[in-house]
Symmetry: C3
Subunit: 673 residues, 3 copies
């Protein structure tokens, strides 16, 4: 199990005493893995063509001799000043077409041939020098890829990308983007410009293709970076660190990670939940952490790495509160529980200056192993040493929720409905919640993944959906699957062009009904849906439904569609479908899915009785289950094991009722044969 994190000795080359302390403190903190070289370009190549690897040689040696391993980063995330100065084409141009000055990070032109050449060159030198070092276990390509460039090189690349996509047929592009609207027809490829606040920004097809291009061009840049690594170190796995968007920890929106994931050997990501905040309970936030981990795990259906996290607090939230005692162990174990094979930190040591000097770290400015944070890190290290069996294990799920990056882009870009109430990713979290509360494993999958593996597939707010996906949904239900869909689904195809002639026939067949109006409500509007024995408040959206062969499961209470269907179900061939017409409250989702869980005999990952705020997650080995029992509340909680299990940390056998302290976590093992 990897434990450690981002290590920046290049900031301390003048301080051999500090570098020596690092080695000692690494041991004391039970860490074993360090990501080095992120942002080290200036230290490696202080002037063009002048290299200085000696310091890094020493770091490799010292860590390795100390029992540690290294994840080596390529330094493209921030370039030296001499590079920007000599080759200004590497500087980004923003959407307002202002060329940026040198500074910051993550801000190169992703099309620049010069930058691609320079990064490949330094990467090649790193691979040559360290590729065979026994301490090297992984490549960390660049850092938190993000952003976009609108320079002439990128305009050219975008047009080239479009020509490929539309097969050099400009009319095909005009049709896909519906450019007859507002006289926007292009009569020449050279007229196409990336979206801009000072130009075009309301052509949704253009916006959507631009976002696709940004993802593809970022991957293209990444692929260029790894050429020498693949060539020279074919056995060293490659990752890059993914992100989430704050504060709801929704999937990072700027890049389509479902595409990017295919180019990585291992998914890794940087998780910074705002624990102990004042707007949600600890359990609410833990549920969101579960959701995004289940997505990043499902992307490749394999364990991932936690590449960055903080043992205390961050420095870039509005309020940078530190983790309370116990939270660091608990939150770290949650990552493992959902599929991580590492606990890595940003950062090993707080820097003395510049903007991240107050970001949480294993080693504080006091350079001490005696403070609370250091001790909590060491405790995580000791715990991880008991959990090596867990490495590489995965889990299976009967339930899948579909998340689609392109749908998120399109729905947010849509002019219509409520401008601030789309909240597609948050809606998925709402659907995820009941399963998380009931310890039922969920995969959060993309539209390309296999649906047949699941009993239950949930596709909320699938605004953008291709004919092909509709067919696959139909096949899924036809062959016995259960499908749940909601309001604002099936509206446009992959070009953001609406389906014509009413709701898609296949969808009508699956659901036995059709939506005829989507009502959008003001925040203070009040309406309710009665469903079975309950009454549930609706907000934001209500679909007026014309039922055909569907069963009416719930009806609206008020407004001009009072007593008309709000929720329907339908038997389609061997399967069943549900359509939820309105955005309903949490209680509805709990009641609705509880029934479905019963109907479909969905089982928790492990039979543990517990109260609200406790989460149980599992990692499955061929003959063992590793079960994480986590108390995400500020109170003691009673949990009751139905069968005997063994505590992996203490070695003791557990059965019946035990008490979890505030924030306590128990990791137990159960033989499965």
């Amino acid at each position: 199990m990897l434990h450690g994190g981002d290590y920046n000795p290049d900031q301390w080359l003048d301080r051999p005493d500090i570098l020596a302390d690092d080695i000692k403190l690494m041991k004391l903190s039970h860490t074993n893995t360090f990501s080095v070289g992120i942002f080290a370009w200036s230290a490696l190549e202080p002037e063009e063509g002048v290299y200085n690897f000696e310091w890094l040689d020493e770091i490799f040696e010292n860590i390795y001799k100390n029992g540690g391993r290294i994840i080596l980063a390529t330094p493209s995330g921030a370039r030296p000043a001499w590079l920007s100065q000599k080759y200004p084409e590497v500087l980004r141009v923003n959407a307002s077409r202002m060329k940026q000055l040198h500074g910051g990070r993550h801000n190169h032109c992703f099309s620049s041939e010069v930058y691609r050449e320079k990064t490949q060159n330094i990467n090649r030198l790193l691979a040559e020098r360290y590729g065979n070092h026994p301490g090297l276990i992984m490549w960390h390509i660049s850092n938190e890829y993000s952003g976009e460039c609108h320079c002439d090189q990128c305009q050219h690349a975008f047009r080239h990308w479009l020509k490929q996509k539309y097969d050099h047929d400009l009319k095909a592009l005009n049709d896909a983007w519906w450019t007859n609207f507002w006289s926007h027809t292009y009569s020449d490829w050279s007229q196409v410009e990336s979206p801009s606040p000072i130009g075009e920004n309301a052509v949704h097809g253009l916006n959507l293709d631009w976002r696709r291009f940004v993802t593809d061009q970022t991957i293209s840049f990444f692929e260029n970076e790894i050429v020498p690594l693949k060539e020279m170190t074919p056995n060293i796995p490659i990752t890059t660190n993914f992100m989430a968007d704050t504060f709801d920890l929704i999937p990072f929106q700027a890049l389509d990670y479902s595409k990017f994931a295919k180019h990585l050997d291992v998914i890794s990501w940087d998780a910074y939940p705002a624990w102990h905040n004042d707007w949600e309970s600890t359990a609410d936030l833990a549920m969101k952490v579960g959701f995004i981990n289940d997505l990043y795990r499902s992307l490749k259906q394999q364990p991932f790495l936690l590449m960055e996290s903080t043992p205390s607090g961050v420095n870039w939230h509005d309020v940078n509160k530190t983790k309370r005692p116990g939270m660091h162990l608990l939150s770290s174990m949650q990552m493992l529980a959902h599929g991580s094979d590492s606990i890595l930190y940003f950062q090993w040591r707080k820097s003395r200056g510049s903007s991240e000097k107050f970001h949480g770290a294993v080693v504080d400015h006091d350079n001490s192993s005696e403070n609370r944070v250091f001790k909590e890190v060491a405790k995580v290290g000791e715990t991880l040493e008991k959990l090596s069996e867990v490495v590489g294990t995965n889990r299976t799920s009967d339930v899948a929720i579909l998340y689609d990056w392109e749908n998120n882009w399109a729905i947010n870009d849509a002019q219509g409905f409520g401008m601030k109430t789309k909240r597609y990713p948050q809606t998925l979290q709402q659907h995820y919640r009941t399963f998380w509360e009931k310890d039922i494993s969920v995969d959060v999958i993309t539209k390309e993944q296999d649906f047949a593996a699941y009993k239950l597939l949930i596709v909320p707010m699938l605004y953008l959906v291709s004919e092909e996906t509709i067919s696959r949904l139909k096949a899924f239900v036809a062959s016995g699957g259960t499908l749940v869909m909601t309001y604002i689904s099936g509206i446009v195809n992959e070009h953001d062009l609406t389906y014509m002639g009413g709701w898609h026939k296949d969808l009508q067949e699956i659901f036995g009904m059709k939506p005829v109006e989507t009502d959008t409500l003001f925040p203070n509007d009040k309406n309710f849906v009665t469903f079975r024995n309950g009454t549930y408040e609706l907000k934001d959206y209500a679909t007026v439904i014309e039922s055909n062969t569907a069963n009416i499961e719930g009806v609206y209470q008020d407004d001009f569609y009072a007593n008309t269907p709000a929720i329907t179900s339908h038997q389609y061939e061997s399967g069943k479908s549900y359509y939820i017409g309105a955005r309903l409250d949490d209680q509805f989702h709990q009641d609705f899915y509880s029934e479905l869980i019963k109907d479909l005999s969905l089982e928790p990952v492990f039979p543990v009785t517990h109260g609200k705020g406790v989460s149980v997650q599992v990692r499955q080995a061929p003959e063992h289950d590793y079960i994480f029992v986590m108390n995400f509340t500020e109170e003691k909680q009673q949990v009751s094991f139905e069968t005997k299990v063994t505590d992996m940390v203490t070695g003791e056998d557990l059965t019946g009722e035990i008490t979890l302290d505030k924030y306590e976590v128990r990791i137990v093992e159960k033989s499965t044969n």
Copy 2:
């Protein structure tokens, strides 16, 4: 009565099936008039000098054969990409002096000779080809003129405009703009630059003249557009579509429509009230709709056209809620009631792609005549067919409220008072409200219109007022009129230069008092005015008054001006004047104006007894009154007719008490001789 709207067949030229459906659906929806060609430039001239009119020929033929008529738009609202590419001078430069890229719409340089030539050329071709077509009933010039350009051509045009205005006397400009302040004296015309966030923006005289120039230059562009139309189709009336500013539906502020109106044959406008919102009652919003219609009707003292409206919802509000059943008929009839001779929609059919695909339309993506919206449109159509007598009728009013665009610009630009509490147009709505509630017809006039036609003239917050207007107000009162003025009136002249030596002598004569201080209050400050038997809360503004010969009608209750005059009245020659020193609550306005209505024997348009939220409006033919009785509440309402009337839709005779359902409207006829 025109019924129909914006029709964009140019988006569907690949889909003859859709174009054929349109013709059938037009019939079914009882529509008869279609605005075509808005944004069709790329379809008409796909490459420079290459024209394609065949599709439009067919549209003309098909609509005409189907019994419909056409309002033909000039396409200058959005230009083809080739035009921007070949002639970049047509692209706007914003106030920060950033040249815009191609994209969007309504964004040409209004001074560009090239663009003027190109638009005149395409307009000429349209006039040549369709000018004599029997289906053509009107020209729709461009679309929603708005915005401004700061390019070099426009700077040049602005300086030219200033030289004309100031008779080539730079000192006159310096004096008018008070440029000695902050050493801003111009020593050469070439130093004058339009206002800019990166340059000068605090010289109010400059800002005011710039806004005047923007209006004049927009009109100049419009006049250039219509040259060939006036020449070839002298009998086809010309309009362009005006707008309102959201959400209070205040008059569109960027252009002085009182000037623009003189250049149009018919006023038309685009009305998008946010019905069923959650911050005001339906009646509150209906009052605002009444106010702006009464302004646009009064601009030419003749019926106008509703050029755009939605049968359901829009796509650009924060929350795009659709009209509840019945609201479409009710809100359409309200437009007629205040002077419209049409109900036209944006848009006939929802497009498949781009940013307006979710804007309400007669025909939805389902292409069906069976949905609720389509049926409500057809019902409006059937109703309109009963109301053809109403076309061309107008009405007269005894009450006028003065709205002045220049005053609105100047008062909003004023540094002083409360920065966010000026709210000049909303203050006028507050004064309008009582008359609307009492069914008393009001004209909302401009400073150039004849005051003598009215018994009562209300001029709230007339901050900017010329000597000439003061004289005309004086003459109005002297010859028997009743004048109401408020706080923050009579402060500056037409150059935004303050009157010196105290309040203008003429105003002092009219009112028998003078304001000596304007107190500006914080939101939580509390004070009251006692007036007759009531006590009313004041907000934002309180004028300290020195009364001379005026009667003190109300006094302040608190603060250092407690017990001093807050409201005064004064007999001046044959007329009477009232000065309201403080911004008082709605109840005050109701009590104050109710008394005045009694004093001046102002009569409702028709004697109908009804409760709150019902509005009665009239259109007057030489021998008939057409009376609209409208229930703007969510409850049933009893209304009582004192005389017998005939329902124009059902043909039945009505007298005594009848019940109006929620949102119900009755249109009745009464012989007037």
Copy 3:
């Protein structure tokens, strides 16, 4: 005592009647001093090299003959249009690298050689012409220096400044700015650019040095301006008008006035408190006025001038409320009480046009001496005539609070803690409050001033502190001083580099403890500190403390650091120190400092018993105390003099209890020998 203000006859040269009225009104208003020439450049030099001084000659003569005196301004605050047009290099470039257009004011490039030459030239001509005029009493250099320029000239000047500072050693700069972080190492001086939103903005060392450079370059510009004045009029004192930042009246943040003050003969400043607002009591605001005056007085430890104030309201607040009757006298006397030797206004007369025409003035647009404001000004004038003895007197304090501009920059720039809750200056006000309420004189000093002069030194939130300052603090305590320090102190050195190895040893010695964690709280988090007999709520920040030899004075009530030290005290050699670990409420500060006041026998400036909201301040002459007793409440207040004093305005003797009306002020005299 100077009474008068900014006078702009250059706006009225066409109106000799107005200029004549001015002279009469000056007499009537009991004013005697006028600042002329601010923004008069266009009037003095209408074209390059063409001068017009005649009007100013006349103004000098007329004022002087009328008994008045003149503060002559240099006109660099706004330049003529011809100057910007001919020499565009004088125009500023903003941080986004956009060159500004001509317009506004206070917007020259402070590095431009041309502008320096032009301003020195006009200053020289002014000095030649008026330097010996008997009416001239002071130079007013430019106006409200502020802002910054990022043009190439300024980049060059910045690099030059850095080379001087770092002794041409680029590595020293790299080390100081910790540029190894994010690969930001400079390999050539030419790579350094000023901070920019489109470039680098997160390198705190760069930001800090840039702010220092901006102060130094502003002073350099100022020094260039005064060369001819120092040369020709060595006996005329020089000032420039300082500012405060709204609305809390915190010290102006953009320039380090502690440096600037050294270059002035007299401090003067422009005070615009928002009296009678709706978010704080009059006394709360008066306390803030006291605080900033005590800072500006302490900068040179001598009386200062109130250069601008308003007799009524301003025009640039959100709500521009006017002073209530009596407030003008009260607020003016408060300025004197804290050390001002003048009451000067912006502005003598309201202009007719442009953006400041509604800013309060002695003479309103009515040109009358009969309105309320004019009469209140005249009353202040009459009062001041009784207070000439006060001129030049100062006072001594036993208590000092340390304010540091650099610390304010650094703490606000810090990424970490709470982004919106730093509030360093407001925290100082909180510490100041108790002394103000108890009439104990406080100096607000800078880090360079002598600490030994005080019994009690308070240094809240001293985030940035050099080794040298730490030594001086240590020496202060060692030799018997009492020192109070708080949370977030002693974190970084003068380069914004953190201290390593834990809290500075000297600080640990002084305080007998060390902070080990700074907890940052969310707004709704709740925690309390118990201290002696009280319990006090904490907000935002709580320091976890490891006490060594310190006494634990208060402990936390809750959270993981419950029952650990929150407040400590410590005897260090002859002195004592207190550390306050949490941001506590006002009550705590009152209780804490009340005890300290008792312990240290700190005495009020004069023994007067009074209730809350009354402030007593003193000016001390060798043999007399001049005591200001001010009622900052809306109620009558009883105050009781223990000894006999003489009212300086009425001449009556006062003893025992007297009643102060709402806003009443009494200025009394007491012989001190």
